[in-house]
C-alpha cells in the first residue's frame, strides 16, 4: 500500500515524504543522515541518547528525530550550532559514564559509540566520570559475556530478546543512575532462559555483549605438536567471513576461506556441509519413518541449538516433535573422532575438533554434556587411556572470531588464492550449503525425501515457496498422489506461533523447519556486525549461487556420503547412527 505523501521543509528545501514516518527516517529517505545512537531500525527506539536531536520550527526545545513523526509543512533544521553542540554534549555525557577501553575492546573499530565520538569530534573529556564503581561482568553463559560497564542503555538487546525472540531473558533493573540490563535475580544469562542465540550481541551498539572467545585455547592447540586440529566450517561462514574481512556484503569466498584457515595452521580443513548432507539422509529417513509408522508429527528440525533450548524451556510437552538428529556440527564432531580417527590412524583423544559457526549458541551446544558420543564409542571398545571423557566438538568459533584470528596473523584475505577442502569430510552438495538460509534445510530435505519416496528424479530441485525472508513460509508437495504440507519459521517468535498450533492440536503440517535467527544461520548471532535485512538478503543470494556452483544438488547423491554409509554407518537410522548421530532432549525450567 502506498503511503500518503506530505511536504516538509528540511534545511530550507521542500521534500515529499511519507506521512507518519519519523523525522529521522524521512530524512534518511531523502538522503540526509542524522547522527543517532540508540535508535535501530526494526529494533528499538527508546529515545534515550538524544544524539538525533534537530530543530523543529515552533518548538523551543530540540526534538529527538528518531521518535517524532513528521507532519505536513513541518520545517526542520538538521544542522545548526545549537544542534551540533547539543549532540556533542549529549555524547560526552554518555562517554562520561563509559570506560575508555577502546584499545582492549572486542568492538574496537566496529563500535557505534566509538565511531560517533570520532564523527562528532569528541576530543576532550569535559565531564567527570559518573560511573564510580566497576560492575562485575556476567560470564555465566557458555556463549556470551555481558559487560554492564559498556552498556549505554539503548534497550536494543532487551527489545530483540523480547520482540524478535519472545525469550525475555533480560530487562532493565533498578532506576536512575543505577539502571542496568540484567537477568532475573541477577543470576546471569547462564542461569536464565537465554537461548544463547546472540541476536542481542548483533544489535548492541557497543562492546557490552560479545561472544565468549575461545581463540587463545585454539592457538595453543594449533601450536601443540601432539594435538591434531580438525576444523569444520558451517555453510554461512563462506558468505560471512569475506564481509568480516572488509569485502562487500555477502561476498562468496569459499576457496579463500579454506586457504586462509589452512594458513592459520589447522591440520585438516573440513566442511560442516558434509554432515549437513548427512543430516538430510538421517532426518529425511526419520521423517519417512514417522509418516509411515504413525510417529509424532509434525517433525521439527533440530539443527538450531538456540531453538532447542527454547523449546526445552517453553514447550517441553512438544519435545517429541523434534527430530532426534544431532545438528551438523555435532554429527561432524562425533564422526571426526570415530570414523575419521580410525581411518587416519589418529588417537581420538589427541584430536581437537574446532568449528566455525555463524552462531553463538553453537558454543553452548558443543558444551552440552550429552554431546560426547565419540568418547562412549571408544569406551565401549576399551580403547581409551583417559577415562574422564572428552567432547565431540572442542570449540565453536563465531565468524567474527575467525576474522580476528585472520587479522592476528596479518593475512591479506581478499588476496588469497582459492583452495579446496580436505577429504573425506570435505565434499558437499548444493543441498548442504542452503542450510545457511531460512528454508534451506526444508528444501534440502524435500529434494531427498521426494526422490527416495517416489523413486523418481525431480524435474526441478528448487522449491521457491520455502525461500525468502517471509517469517513463516508454507508449501505443499505432492508425493505419490498424497499432499504433504510443510512450514518454515525463522526467529523464535515465529517458531512460537507454529508451536502454539501444535499444542492446540491444530497444526496441519508434516514437517517444520525452525531456525532461531532472523534469515536463518546467515543472520546468526555470530555473524559480522552489522547484520541488517539488506545484508541478509545479499548473503542469501550468495548461498543460492553456491547451491548451483556445487554441481551435485541432492544430499543422497554426495559420493562421499554414499561411501560413508557403505563403509561405516551401513544405513540411515542404523545402529551406529543411533549412537553417533542422534540425541535426546530434556525439559528445562523457566
Amino acid at each position: 500500500m502506498m503511503r500518503k505523501k506530505i511536504n516538509i521543509i528540511i534545511d530550507g528545501k521542500d521534500y515529499l515524504v511519507d506521512e507518519g514516518t519519523t523525522i529521522l527516517n524521512a530524512c534518511k529517505e531523502v538522503g540526509i543522515n542524522i547522527p543517532h545512537l540508540c535508535y535501530m531500525e526494526d529494533v528499538s527506539s527508546n529515545a534515550s541518547c538524544a544524539i538525533c536531536c534537530i530543530e523543529v520550527k515552533g518548538s523551543k526545545k530540540l526534538v529527538r528525530s528518531c521518535s517524532y513523526s513528521v507532519w505536513a509543512d513541518m520545517e526542520i533544521t538538521t544542522n545548526s550550532e545549537r544542534i551540533r553542540k547539543a549532540r556533542k554534549t549529549n555524547l560526552e555525557l554518555i562517554l562520561a559514564n563509559h570506560p575508555d577501553d577502546c584499545l582492549k575492546c572486542d568492538r574496537n573499530q566496529n563500535c557505534e559509540l566509538q565511531k560517533l565520538a570520532w564523527e562528532l569530534g569528541v576530543r576532550e573529556q569535559h565531564y567527570a566520570k559518573t560511573r564510580t564503581k566497576i560492575l562485575p561482568l556476567d560470564t555465566s553463559s557458555p556463549s556470551l559475556i555481558r559487560d554492564p560497564n559498556k552498556c549505554i542503555l539503548c534497550n536494543r538487546c532487551i527489545s530483540v530478546c523480547s520482540e524478535v525472540q519472545t525469550v525475555n531473558a533480560i530487562d532493565v533493573t533498578g532506576r536512575g543512575l543505577h539502571s542496568r540490563v540484567t537477568t532475573f535475580m541477577d543470576r546471569g544469562l547462564g542461569s536464565s532462559v537465554c537461548t544463547n542465540c546472540g541476536q542481542c550481541s548483533l544489535v548492541c551498539p557497543t562492546g557490552a555483549i560479545v561472544e565468549k572467545s575461545d581463540i587463545s585455547s585454539i592457538w595453543r592447540d594449533i601450536y601443540d605438536p601432539d594435538i591434531f586440529t580438525v576444523i569444520q566450517t558451517a555453510p554461512a561462514i563462506r558468505i560471512g567471513i569475506g564481509e568480516a574481512m572488509g569485502m562487500e556484503s555477502g561476498a562468496l569466498v569459499t576457496g579463500k576461506m579454506v586457504a586462509g584457515i589452512r594458513k592459520l595452521g589447522f591440520d585438516r580443513v573440513f566442511d560442516t556441509q558434509f554432515t549437513a548432507d548427512l543430516t538430510i539422509m538421517e532426518e529425511g529417513h526419520e521423517l519417512i519413518k514417522r509418516i509411515s509408522t504413525g510417529g509424532t508429527l509434525p517433525m521439527i528440525t533440530s539443527c538450531s541449538p538456540g531453538w532447542i533450548k527454547f523449546i526445552e524451556h517453553f514447550f517441553p510437552q512438544q519435545l517429541a516433535n523434534i527430530s532426534t538428529c544431532k545438528s551438523p556440527q555435532q554429527m561432524f564432531g562425533a564422526l571426526a573422532k570415530t570414523w575419521y580417527a580410525e581411518q587416519a590412524g589418529l588417537d581420538p583423544e589427541k584430536i581437537r575438533v574446532i568449528s566455525v559457526m555463524p552462531c553463538t549458541a553453537k558454543k553452548y551446544e558443543a558444551e552440552r554434556p550429552e554431546m560426547n558420543s565419540a568418547f562412549h564409542y571408544w569406551k565401549e571398545r576399551k580403547k581409551l587411556k583417559n577415562r574422564s571423557g572428552f567432547p565431540d566438538v572442542d570449540y565453536a568459533l563465531t565468524t567474527r572470531e575467525l576474522a580476528r584470528m585472520f587479522r592476528e596473523t596479518g593475512l591479506d584475505f581478499a588476496g588469497l588464492p582459492e583452495e579446496e577442502f580436505d577429504n573425506p569430510l570435505g565434499k558437499s552438495t548444493g543441498a548442504a550449503v542452503i542450510f545457511g538460509a531460512t528454508g534451506g534445510v526444508m528444501e534440502a530435505a524435500l529434494r531427498t525425501a521426494y526422490e527416495v519416496l517416489t523413486g523418481t528424479t525431480l524435474d526441478k530441485v528448487e522449491f521457491a515457496d520455502v525461500r525468502g525472508m517471509e517469517g513463516i513460509k508454507e508449501a505443499e508437495i505432492d508425493i505419490k498422489g498424497k499432499p504433504v504440507r510443510v512450514a518454515v519459521a525463522h526467529t523464535l517468535k515465529n517458531a512460537r506461533k507454529l508451536l502454539d498450533e501444535i499444542k492446540e492440536g491444530k497444526s496441519p503440517y508434516a514437517f517444520i523447519e525452525v531456525m532461531a535467527c532472523p534469515g536463518g544461520c546467515l543472520g546468526g548471532g555470530g555473524q559480522p556486525i552489522p547484520t541488517t535485512w539488506e545484508i541478509r538478503k545479499k548473503r542469501a543470494e550468495s548461498i543460492y549461487r553456491e547451491d548451483i556452483n556445487l554441481g551435485i544438488r541432492k544430499s543422497h547423491e554426495n559420493p562421499e556420503i554414499q561411501a560413508l554409509y557403505r563403509d561405516f554407518l551401513i544405513k540411515p537410522l542404523g545402529e551406529i547412527s543411533h549412537h553417533l548421530l542422534h540425541t535426546s532432549y530434556s525439559q528445562k525450567s523457566v
Binding site: D171, T173, G174, F184, M185, V590
Partner: protein
C-alpha cells in the same frame, strides 16, 4: 536470604489476589504489593514471584525489573521493625552517615559497600535498616523513619532510645515499609 524464616503460603491466596485485579490497569503492581503485605516479614519470595509470572504471563525478567524499580518491594525478609535512614544531601551534611554507622553497630550489622539503596536485617529478624536516596524532608534533616513514621532532627541519643523501646516491646506491630 534467610530461608529458615521462609513460610510457605498457600497458592490459593495468590490466586485470589490475582483474580481480584484481573484486567485492571496496573494489575501487576497491585498483585505484588498485596502478596508482599500478606507475606510474613513483608517480602516477595521467589516461589511467589514465579507463581505470579506464570499465572499472569509476565516474563520473570520483567517482574524483576518492576520489583527493583520500586523501593517498597523487598526481595529479602524484613525485620519486625524498619528503620530507614535518609542519605540525601541535606541529611548527609547533618550527620546521617554517622547515624547509619551508629545504628548498624548497635544492631550488630555489617555494612557492605554497594551502589544503590541498601537494606540489612538482623539475624533475629527484629530490625531492618534501610537507606533511601532522599525522603524529601530536607528541612527536618537529618530524618529517619521508623516503621513508616518520620522522626526529624535525629540524634544518636534519640535513635538509641527509640530502638530500646522497640526492642523491649513484646508484640511487634506489623506495618508496611515506607
Amino acid at each position: 536470604m534467610k530461608s529458615s524464616k521462609v513460610q510457605q503460603i498457600d497458592n490459593s491466596l495468590y490466586d485470589s489476589i490475582i483474580a481480584g485485579y484481573r484486567g485492571k490497569p496496573g494489575d501487576l503492581l497491585s498483585v505484588l504489593e498485596d502478596i508482599q503485605t500478606a507475606t510474613p516479614h513483608s517480602y516477595l519470595t521467589e516461589p511467589a514471584i514465579r507463581y505470579v509470572a506464570e499465572k499472569m504471563k509476565v516474563p520473570l525478567s520483567r517482574i524483576y525489573s518492576v520489583i527493583t524499580f520500586y523501593s517498597f518491594f523487598n526481595l529479602n525478609p524484613q525485620g519486625d521493625h524498619t528503620v530507614t535512614v535518609c542519605r540525601g544531601t541535606a541529611c548527609h551534611t547533618r550527620g546521617s552517615r554517622a547515624l547509619l554507622a551508629d545504628i548498624m553497630i548497635k544492631l550488630g550489622l555489617n555494612e557492605e559497600e554497594t551502589g544503590g539503596e541498601t537494606s540489612y536485617t538482623t539475624d533475629d529478624m527484629r530490625f531492618t535498616v534501610r537507606t533511601v536516596a532522599c525522603f524529601g524532608q530536607c528541612a527536618l534533616a537529618p530524618v529517619i523513619a521508623v516503621d513508616g513514621v518520620i522522626f526529624s532532627h535525629m540524634t544518636s541519643e534519640k535513635l538509641e532510645a527509640i530502638i530500646k523501646k522497640l526492642s523491649s516491646a513484646k508484640k511487634p506491630v506489623r506495618r508496611r515499609n515506607p
